[in-house]
Amino acid sequence: MGTSYIYNRDASRLFIAVRENGKRYKLFIPKESKPAINGAEMDIDFVEQGDFDYTFEWKGKKFHCELVSRDQNKAIVKVNGVEYKYSIESIFSYIRRGMINSDANKIDDNNIAAPMPGKIVDIFLSEGDLVNAGDPILTLEAMKMQNEISANCNGVIRKIKVQPGQSVMKDELLVEIQSIEV
């Protein structure tokens, strides 16, 4: 998927909401722009906020949401008078649970190694950032050429093993990405 929904965004703001019927929503609640759902930024506005309810306006329609009950990460929300149940998790707890629950096919880290010896010129992201497959992470200079090293999967940057200015050998580990497929 070529969407850029998680590019250079703070992973702590990515959540997964799963409805009782199994339907999943990836939600990004950013600091300075509108939220994104399943990769698409939403042109949505808050109209009103009460103690336990929100009213949104979207596509020219009002959506009145009232929190009916909440137990841990499970919430029942009444939207325009009809109840929907969700369980919500941060991306981290989602991954953690994913690893605990499925030992057999546990999610592997996707390591990115240096394709050639060279010097790290620039690093665009930091640990905890979200990336899409193909997003540039850092620039490696080799033989007077600048090479962009990109993410090999959708996920979270788990570890950055190098620093700008550092020289690396071929196959040296540069970045660990925790892949996320939701």
Binding site: S12, R13, F15, A17, R19, K23, Y25, L27, I29, K31, E32, S33, K34, P35, I37, M42, I44, D45, F46, Q49, G50, D51, F52, D53, Y54, T55, F56, W58, K59, K61, K62, F63, H64, C65, E66, L67, R70, N73, A75, V77, K78, V79, N80, G81, V82, E83, Y84, Y86, I88, S90
Partner: protein, 498 residues
């Protein structure tokens, strides 16, 4: 001296009647029941009589003796019974009359007659109204039943004379099965009620419920104010009503209306009344019963005719002549009424009781609100679940549907679930839009998943996630498109819990 009108009712209809009383310059008096001592209607009345009914088996509104006693103590002139409760109780009407109180409604005798189905039907036959074809009395045996069914056509319904609750009842589709069904239904009735007598009637598979509003005075004048269609029902109770009906053209309206007037005149009816018909798919219609009270759905008729029915009820009770002429009554535009019941349409319309945290109604030129509650009201289990009515008009039916949907989109009730989402589904359903819906729509078509839609589901996920995220990230202050200084929900939640 100003006349004193006592309302033996509560909630929205009490407020509606108070408005009518004030229009006529009367003093409006209501009861305060201990079962809802802070009800909204109390604040509209000029005087409130404390009913002190906390320790009585029945709420004041059902206690005929006590109503009359308190009315006499409080120098009441007229009593308006509203709908439900004692409104169609002939003994109550008689008691009022005996004690010199002016009961707003028809005579006690007529209330009694119309309350007895067999009496009402025989009076209807006399007045030349069509009845659903059926046996006048019990049919002797299966063979007679079969001959009868062959004559009136299938399907037919077999009903035990003593029946009830569906026992001893069979719908028969074809001649081959009538004898077997007759025997089993009759045996069932005999076992259940000790009486195996069976009636037979034509069965209407997809009927519409139509009713004609009439108004008569004590001097023999009667007019009709057109029909209402109330086919949309759940648990045999109306939930969406409209006036006029798309199934009644001007010619049929004149014909059925004339019939309703003829019936009312024949029985000497005065006050507001409703004559109910059941209409088959082919347009044939049959008399069902007459309601001798003002009805919940009377506003739709008022909206399309411009006639104030409650006002006329009171004036007729005072002996005034009806100045309405049939030729002056015109139906203009379309009106629909949405009943706001605190019920859960996702769960078999089970009643919801408790606190209404917030309620806010749509407003506009084409919107009329009749409510018995406001924010902070408590819905108790003592009374019915209807808390308000939203009545919307339009230039024609399609315009009215669009306006009603718009109005419902601006209705908010926090704290309890209501029938409003269900009504939104109804208004958008093809069978409602093309007006082919019948009384069986809820049973045959409606499923709770029709209440859900993808947009709502997605926005719900967003709301749930923002609520969760605020706690998780303590984000409340740094979502810029979320402009509010109010306490965020999760902080409040924490305070409540810890």
């Amino acid at each position: 001296m100003k006349k004193r009108l006592l309302i033996a009712n509560r909630s929205e209809i009490a407020i509606r009647i108070i408005r009518a009383a004030h229009k006529l310059g009367m003093v409006a008096v209501v009861f305060q029941s201990d079962r809802e001592p802070e009800a909204l209607y109390l604040s509209y009345a000029d005087e409130v009589i404390p009913a002190r009914d906390a320790h009585n088996d029945k709420a004041i509104f059902l206690d005929a003796e006590r109503i009359v006693q308190l009315a006499l103590e409080n120098n009441i002139d007229l009593i308006h019974p509203g709908y439900g409760f004692l409104s169609e109780n002939p003994d109550f009407a008689q008691l009022c009359t005996d004690k010199g109180l002016n009961f707003i409604g028809p005579s006690a005798q007529l209330i009694r007659d119309m309350g007895l189905k067999t009496v009402a039907k025989s009076m209807a036959i006399e007045a030349g109204l069509p009845l659903v074809p059926g046996s006048d009395g019990p049919v002797r045996d299966a063979q007679v039943a079969k001959e009868f069914a062959d004559r009136i056509g299938y399907p037919v319904i077999l009903k035990a004379s003593a029946g009830g609750g569906g026992r001893g009842m069979r719908i028969v589709e074809k001649p081959e099965t009538i004898e077997r069904n007759f025997k089993s239904a009759s045996d069932e009735a005999l076992a259940a009620f000790g009486n195996g007598d069976m009636f037979i009637e034509k069965y209407l598979q997809n009927p519409k419920h139509l009713e004609f509003q009439i108004m008569g005075d004590k001097h023999g004048n009667v007019v009709h104010l057109g029909e209402r269609e109330c086919s949309l029902q759940r648990k045999h109770q109306k939930i969406v009503e409209e006036a006029p009906s798309a199934s009644v053209n001007p010619q049929k309206r004149a014909e059925m209306g004339e019939m309703a007037v003829r019936f009312a005149k024949a029985i000497g009816y005065y006050s507001a009344g409703t004559i109910e018909f059941i209409m088959d798919e082919d347009g044939s219609y049959y008399f069902m019963e007459m309601n001798t009270r003002i009805q919940v759905e009377h506003p739709v008729t008022e909206q399309v005719t411009g006639v104030d029915l409650v006002d006329w009820q009171i004036r007729v009770a005072l002996g005034e002549h009806l100045t309405l002429k049939q030729e002056d009554i015109k139906i203009t535009g379309w009106a629909m009424e949405i009943r706001v019941n605190t019920e859960d349409p996702q769960n078999r319309f089970s009643p919801q009781t408790g606190l209404i945290d917030q309620i806010s109604f749509p407003s506009g030129d084409n919107i009329r609100i009749e409510t018995g509650v406001q924010s902070g009201a408590v819905v108790t289990p003592y009374f019915d679940s209807m808390v308000a009515k939203i009545i919307v008009t339009g230039t024609d039916r399609a315009d009215c549907i669009a306006n009603t949907l718009d109005a419902l989109n601006n209705f908010v009730l926090n704290g309890l679930k209501t029938t409003v989402p269900f009504c939104r589904v109804v208004l958008q359903h093809p069978a409602f839009v093309d007006a082919t819906y019948t009384t069986r729509w809820v049973d045959q078509v409606f499923t709770p998943d029709m209440l859900e839609n993808e947009d709502d589901e997605m926005i719900g996920a967003l709301a749930a996630t923002i609520m969760y995220a605020q706690e998780y990230l303590q984000l409340s202050s740094d979502i810029p498109w979320y402009k509010s200084d109010r306490l965020n929900v999760w902080v409040l939640n924490k305070r409540l819990n810890y």
